[in-house]
């Protein structure tokens, strides 16, 4: 008997994904698993809309009961703390913008859960409620954009290897969000009407500054905000509280909209610029990975996306060694933020990507 783990967050997407699997494979081959990623928030501080609150565990359990599938809670607090939360914090301290959903996919859902799922449940694959598709063509697994372009989540999945893709299922890949909601209602799942979770699951109320202090003792030290010429135009509360592209909370009035252009940890400096000054046509990327294992070539064309839900831009990619590349885009892209992913596509197929590197100089 081949079993499959359905990662259940308590949200509508993973609930429907589990339901589809249970319908397709029979309910004794699908194991519902909710992952405890971090300790419960103190009372009154609860993230009711987040995927990791005790409420979410209750919802996931109720759905599993309705589907009549075994359901377990898997404790991944330690792994999540190191691989996702610490990495998130360190990214800010590094003057970069973290990518926690990608880290969670890479290290938790499609690694720890796969390993533990095999050990504990004898399961050989993991299914999630991500909007993405998989195709097996010409001898390899291909990660494809979701049918619902608006919901496509390949931006967070580019990092998966052939090995991981081979043991992954995305039951929602061909569906649109309204279809998924309709299905949830039809199955009378308690999660059918749940609002979308947008916030980062371990950051209460979207304010990550407390986390910097709690995990790394970073309280923030005021420093200068400078313009492109190096002229001090204001004061910030600590460089790690700012990310590239940020507009709000700068407290600088220069008569026109200004954005964070660069964060410099070494000098505790935040550099700002006008809108056209934060756009770039060329930037380098490290930590490159390709779903096929290797890049399509030393130099190739495709399109690149530098943040979730941003439009793709046509780009030329030049490999530098095996895990770095330089991107030149056909038109300027707005504020490539160090730490964020640059994800490469060839039409509908996600080829892989990397981590946007700090610009030189």
């Amino acid at each position: 008997m081949s079993r499959i783990v359905a990662a259940m967050s308590g949200g509508v997407d993973s609930s429907v994904a589990a339901a589809l699997l249970a319908r397709e494979r029979g309910n004794d081959e699908v194991i519902g698993v909710w992952m405890r990623t971090h300790a419960d928030m103190p009372e009154g501080y609860e993230l009711s809309r987040s995927c990791c609150s005790p409420d979410a565990a209750d919802d996931a359990r109720r759905v599993a009961q309705l589907l009549d599938i075994p359901f377990y809670t898997l404790n991944v607090e330690r792994e999540f703390g190191e691989r996702v939360i610490d990495a998130f914090v360190d990214s800010y301290l590094d003057g970069a913008t973290p990518n926690p959903c990608q880290a969670c996919n890479q290290y938790i859902k499609f690694d720890e859960l796969l390993k533990r799922g095999l050990a504990a449940y004898g399961a050989d694959a993991v299914a999630t409620g991500h909007y993405a598709r998989l195709e097996h063509r010409d001898g390899r697994w291909r990660l494809m954009r979701a049918a619902d372009a608006d919901k496509d989540q390949t931006y967070f999945l580019w990092v998966l290897s052939q090995d991981q893709l081979a043991r992954t299922r995305f039951p929602l890949g061909e569906l649109t969000k309204p279809q998924v909601r309709a299905m949830a209602a039809e199955l009378t799942l308690p999660t059918a009407q749940k609002p979308e979770s947008q916030e980062i699951c371990f950051v209460p109320l979207g304010d990550y500054r407390e986390l910097l202090e709690e995990r790394r003792g970073y309280a923030g030290e005021p420093g200068p905000i400078v313009d492109a010429d190096g002229t001090t135009v204001g004061t910030h509360t600590g460089y790690a509280h700012y990310t590239v592209g940020q507009r709000h909370g700068l407290g600088v009035a220069l008569g026109e909209a200004v954005y964070v252009r660069e964060v410099q940890p070494a000098t505790n400096t935040v550099v700002i610029g006008r809108r056209d000054e934060v756009a770039q046509r060329s930037f380098s990327v490290d930590g490159a990975r390709f779903t096929a294992g290797d890049p399509p070539g030393e130099r190739f064309t495709g399109s690149v996306r530098i943040r979730h839900r941003a439009a793709d831009v046509a780009a030329e990619v030049t490999m530098v060694g095996h895990d770095r590349f330089v991107i030149e885009t056909a038109e300027p892209v707005w504020a490539p933020a160090p730490g964020q992913a640059a994800v490469l596509y060839d039409g509908e197929e996600c080829l892989g990507g990397g981590r946007i590197a700090r610009s030189e100089g």
Binding site: A39, L74, R78, R116, L118, A119, A120, G122
Partner: protein, 392 residues
């Protein structure tokens, strides 16, 4: 049908118990405090159950207070006595391996300026009565020690402790929730002033417990309300539950000869199970080799996450638990195993199998076969972990 080896969590309701409860759910449904016939009939059920339980532990019926479970009984004993005796002192002694119902109750006392002494245990989970003697001061008002541990089944030298506490004048509370499912109780030979009991550990319904309170023991009620249970526990009684509790108690303790024979049977099955588990590398027994409950088999398994093993066995149709069902939601390794000096890493791989009246030799063999099927894959995927040892 799954093999159920989790009797220490809940021992399933016995058919005879259900039968005894039935009339109180369908016919005798009055409020036992009511004066009319329906009320009196319900009251009769409670009175009979109270007499049954009192008689089998050597107590008077009026010394039994029914509660909503073992946890409530522990809370009532610990907080009730500590608060009632503040004119004599504010010092409470307990042990590191108590159930959370006791440990968290004393933690609350500690925040109210009580002084708490938590006694250590040896590698088998046993308390040294001399440690109790050394910890007693003239401000000590309560000593709370469990008769048998819920995770590893180790029993405590209650009589020796009772002797020491009696001579001193403090009150002795014994959490006998696990003990009572297998071993007889005589409150006088224990010299106990308070004893906690629970119905569902011995085949009764969940949500019912009792506290034995020796006559003359000052107790501050923890629930305010009506005058039920001689003003020691307010609230309308769970009549059917209490009747079931009495019936379950009779089944276990009504025939001492049969009880001894059943204990012997469980010991032998447990021995076979232990031997089978120990045949695998990296498995060690936790708890005392002899001074333990007859139905408890507890081990730690190197290189395995207990929760994963429990899930794997569940999917094989074998129902067991890690440490205790009450704490299996938490990440921290069992406080009992840590108190016994077991390496925290190893303590994550704990497994508790608790046998019951329906357990057969075939169940033991099938459990061992299931264990053998899942262990290799748990070990390969979770990798080699640093070696750790159980202290002797």
């Amino acid at each position: 049908m799954a093999i159920y080896l989790d009797h220490a969590a809940t021992s399933p309701l016995r058919p005879a118990v259900l039968e005894a409860m039935q009339p109180y759910l369908t016919t005798h449904t009055g409020n036992p405090s009511s004066l009319h016939a329906s009320g009196r009939r319900a009251r009769q059920g409670i009175d009979e159950a109270r007499e049954t339980i009192a008689a089998s532990i050597g107590a008077q019926p009026r010394e039994i207070v029914f509660t909503g479970g073992g946890t409530e009984a522990d809370n009532l004993a610990v907080k009730g006595v500590a608060w009632a005796a503040t004119s004599r002192g504010r010092h409470v002694i307990t042990t590191a391996v108590e159930h959370k119902a006791v440990l968290n109750a004393v933690a609350v006392l500690e925040r109210s300026t009580f002084e708490i002494t938590v006694l250590p245990v040896d590698g088998h989970g046993r308390v040294d009565p001399l440690d109790v003697a050394a910890a007693l001061t003239d401000r000590t008002t309560l000593v709370s020690v469990m008769a048998a541990n819920n995770e590893v089944g180790t029993t405590q030298p209650i009589e020796a402790i009772g002797e020491i506490v009696r001579g001193h004048g403090a009150r002795l509370h014994v959490d006998a929730v696990q003990w009572a499912a297998h071993e007889p109780i005589d409150v006088d030979s224990w010299q106990a002033d308070l004893v906690s009991l629970s119905a569902h550990k011995l085949g009764g319904p969940q949500g019912v417990g009792a506290l034995y309170v020796r006559r003359g023991t000052q107790l501050l009620p923890q629930l305010q309300g009506g005058s039920q249970e001689r003003q020691r526990r307010a609230g309308t009684e769970n009549v059917a539950g209490i009747v079931g509790f009495g019936a379950a108690f009779s089944l276990v303790h009504g025939d001492p000869e049969a009880r001894r024979a059943e204990s012997q049977r469980l010991i032998e099955l447990g021995r076979a199970l232990t031997t089978g588990l120990l045949a695998h590398d990296g498995v060690s027994v936790t708890g005392h080799p002899d001074e333990r409950l007859p139905n408890n088999v507890s081990v730690v398994i190197d290189g395995v996450e207990g929760g994963d093993l429990v899930a794997a066995l569940d999917l094989e149709g074998v129902e067991v638990s890690t440490g205790s069902a009450c704490t299996s939601g938490s990440t921290e390794p069992s406080h009992v195993l840590l108190a016994m000096g077991i390496d925290p890493h190893l303590a994550h791989g704990s497994l508790r199998l608790t046998l019951g009246p329906e357990t057969s030799r075939e169940d033991v063999d099938a459990t061992l076969a299931a264990f053998e099927r899942v262990l290799p894959r748990l070990r390969t995927t979770q990798g080699a972990q640093p070696k750790a040892t159980v202290p002797a």
